[in-house]
């Protein structure tokens, strides 16, 4: 049913339709509205006997999900930013144990300086933990990915993160088609765990493994990711057939036919990029885009096929590998290895810095003319940088950088808009 609804509420309804048995959560902005929505749905008794646990930390939230999942229950949690880092140990543990937990990430920057706004630093930090990572472009996709996430998780017995841009999606109201329970039930079968804690058949789970077998266990985690690479397009196809709309998949091209420059990006910024491409196409620029709907497993072959005709590739990403540049860009270069195609990195939107089409258009045009620096920091205020660097050079005890910059700007928050 079509609803004009907040992204978080759409996600909450989608998760509820998946009939989770245990939901555990610790509040962190911008994830809060999702779990608030779910707590209400559970209290109203709309998910049968589902248990909702308010825990004392994100570390506990994922740990409760781990226990519930190992005991055979469909388990869900959600977090953001510092919360994801606080549960980092359990993130790796859930993957190592092969537990099909689904977790929504309301993507948000990582401090210091503390910042509640959107970028992808949080989920990118966990990219190699063994979880599948799906990135939503719209709130419709954010909702739909949860149906696919539970099915994928449970078929392969591995955890899945659904990454949803904080505020930009989680707090945005737009039209979302929330399916019926019957439709979801037809798509998502009940959870049948591969191994379960059961007094009738006592097993030990989580034993210590030494050098003689650990390597093979780790390889099999990689193998599972490769299996996911095959399964994700199949599940997305089955989803499209059942629900009559496209959501998810591995890579989704946009106007790449005859494109000399192709932009690669993840998440909601793909929408802004599409608008920019429409404008530039209208002006005769041969430009297109490829959305990375799945970041782990990384679709090397599919991405290479989508980019093979491009003369240059621009990876626009909301994360920064300090000391290197782009994270996604490095992965894209691996997909293009052996080719001479230049891959430019554009770092954008860190800590919620707005990414306007005008800035994108300027950067893309420079890239199209092979004149862009690499990595390029979109709309970075170099005057501010130079001033702070000069201050630090002049005086060793130059004080806290963030405060100095804000004092220098004489404004707080206004940069957002």
């Amino acid at each position: 049913m079509l609803q004009q609804i907040e992204g978080s509420q759409a996600i909450a309804q989608a998760v509820a339709l998946c009939r989770p048995e245990v939901i555990c959560a610790y509040p962190i902005t911008p994830q809060t509205h999702i779990v608030e929505g779910l707590s209400e749905i559970v209290r109203e008794g709309r998910i049968g006997n589902c248990q909702f646990l308010n825990v004392e930390s994100e570390f506990a939230a994922l740990s409760v999900a781990i226990g519930a999942s190992a005991a055979g229950a469909r388990a869900y949690t959600a977090t953001s930013s510092q919360g994801l880092l606080f549960m980092a140990e359990a993130v790796y543990n859930a993957a190592g144990l092969g537990l099909p937990i689904v977790m929504t990430i309301g993507n948000r920057a990582i401090g210091a300086p503390i910042n509640i706004w959107n970028d992808h630093s949080d989920s990118m930090s966990m990219r190699d933990s063994g979880w599948v990572q799906l990135y939503a472009e719209t709130n419709q996709e954010a909702a739909d990915l949860h149906f696919q996430a539970f099915r994928l998780a449970e078929e392969l017995s591995m955890p899945v993160m659904v990454c949803v841009d904080g505020f930009i999606l989680t707090h945005a109201y737009e039209q979302v088609d929330v399916p019926s329970q019957a439709e979801v039930d037809a798509y998502l079968p009940p959870f049948e765990p591969v191994q379960v804690l059961d007094p009738a058949d006592p097993v030990s789970i989580g034993a210590m493994v030494g050098p003689e077998a650990f390597f093979e266990v780790r390889y099999l985690a990689h193998h599972k990711q490769l299996q996911a690479l095959e399964m994700i397009p199949r599940l997305a196809g089955a989803f499209a057939r059942a629900f009559g709309r496209e959501s998810g998949g591995l890579v989704v091209p946009y106007r790449t036919e005859g494109a000399k420059t192709v932009i690669v990006a993840l998440g909601s910024v793909v929408g802004t990029i599409k608008d920019t491409i429409d404008e530039m196409r209208a002006e005769g620029t041969e430009i297109g885009a490829v959305k990375l709907a799945t970041f782990r497993p990384f679709p090397l072959a599919e991405l290479r096929a989508a980019l093979i005709e491009a003369e240059r590739v621009v990876v626009l990403e909301k994360a920064l590998a300090a000391g290197l540049g782009g994270i996604a860009a490095s992965n894209v270069r691996m997909a293009l290895r052996g080719l001479s195609t230049p891959v430019y990195t554009v770092i954008a939107g860190l800590g919620g810095r707005v990414i306007p089409t005008t800035s994108l258009k300027r950067a893309f045009a420079e890239a199209h003319a092979d004149r862009i620096d690499d990595p390029h920091f979109l709309d970075l205020d170099w005057k501010v940088i130079d001033k702070e660097l000069a201050r630090a050079k002049e005086r060793r005890r130059s004080g806290p950088i963030a405060e100095n910059i804000l004092r220098g700007l004489g404004l707080v928050g206004q940069k957002l808009f």
Binding site: A60, A70, A90, V203
Partner: protein, 333 residues
Amino acid sequence: MTQRIKFYQTGTFTVGNRLLDAERRTVQATVDRSNSLTSGHRACQGCGEALGARYAVDAAMRAANGQVIAVNATGCLEVFSTPYPETSWQVPWFHSLFGNAPAVASGVAAAMRAKGRTDVRVIGQGGDGGTVDIGFGCLSGMFERNDDVLYLCYDNEAYMNTGVQRSGRTPPGARTATTPAVGNKPGAEFGQGKNPALIAMAHNIPYVATASIADLHDLEAKVTKAMAIEGSRYVHIHVPCPLGWGSLPRDTMRIARLAVESGLFPLFEAEHGEVTDVTPIRRKVPVDEYLKPQRRFAHLFRQPPDRESISAIQAIADRNIAKFGLLRQEGEV
């Protein structure tokens, strides 16, 4: 009113079992004991934790009619019982991380509630490090939510699995790898550490008890009682560690008993935050008797002995005795 059996009538605990009614005898004396932690594991000779876990989990199994799921924190108990691909556990057993056993146990309990399996009971267990230090946040969360979990802490007073480093339960004066017996103030600092049983009580959970392998009957009775209660329950079990304490494996029981008899490890029960029962000391011993057989305290008895530290430890024992009323007057039961 039923008469309370006094084991010391026979002068020893070992024959006490035969004086009891069949249903009150130790679970280990029955042929249908569950052997939850069965033989073949790799615990050290004289390990107090292996003994404590065996009695505690078997008692829980009997109380729950065999319907128990156990969650274990990382630590000695986890490592010595489950070197892949072997396991000594004959209960469904799950290990996730060092600091999250209470939360994982809460998750298992939530799953059982969701599935309507009210017959299945969940226990969490770990050492003092995993419980009172790194896992304390999760433990407190489990308590305040009153999740239906019995948590068993096997307290050997240091991080034994990593090579005997100080924990929040390391007693003052004790030598560990990170509180070496050197300098002016050898061993662990005085005035530090925490009492998790009292902190558990502050959560007003339905049941808290301390127990010791010195009195296995009492340990079993407390676990059995805890299993009859719903909600969060905590049993803190004192388990000497020959390796970490520098004691003889054959002295494990003796040292555990001296900890109780000296007043350093008071045995008590509490319900909803109030102490309901204490185990009186039969024959009070000076703390020297407890400290001397342990090399971790050897520096206190060099010539000349560190009377100041020994007196400070005696004062701790005396405070415990006064606080919990561990010395009963003649004729008092």
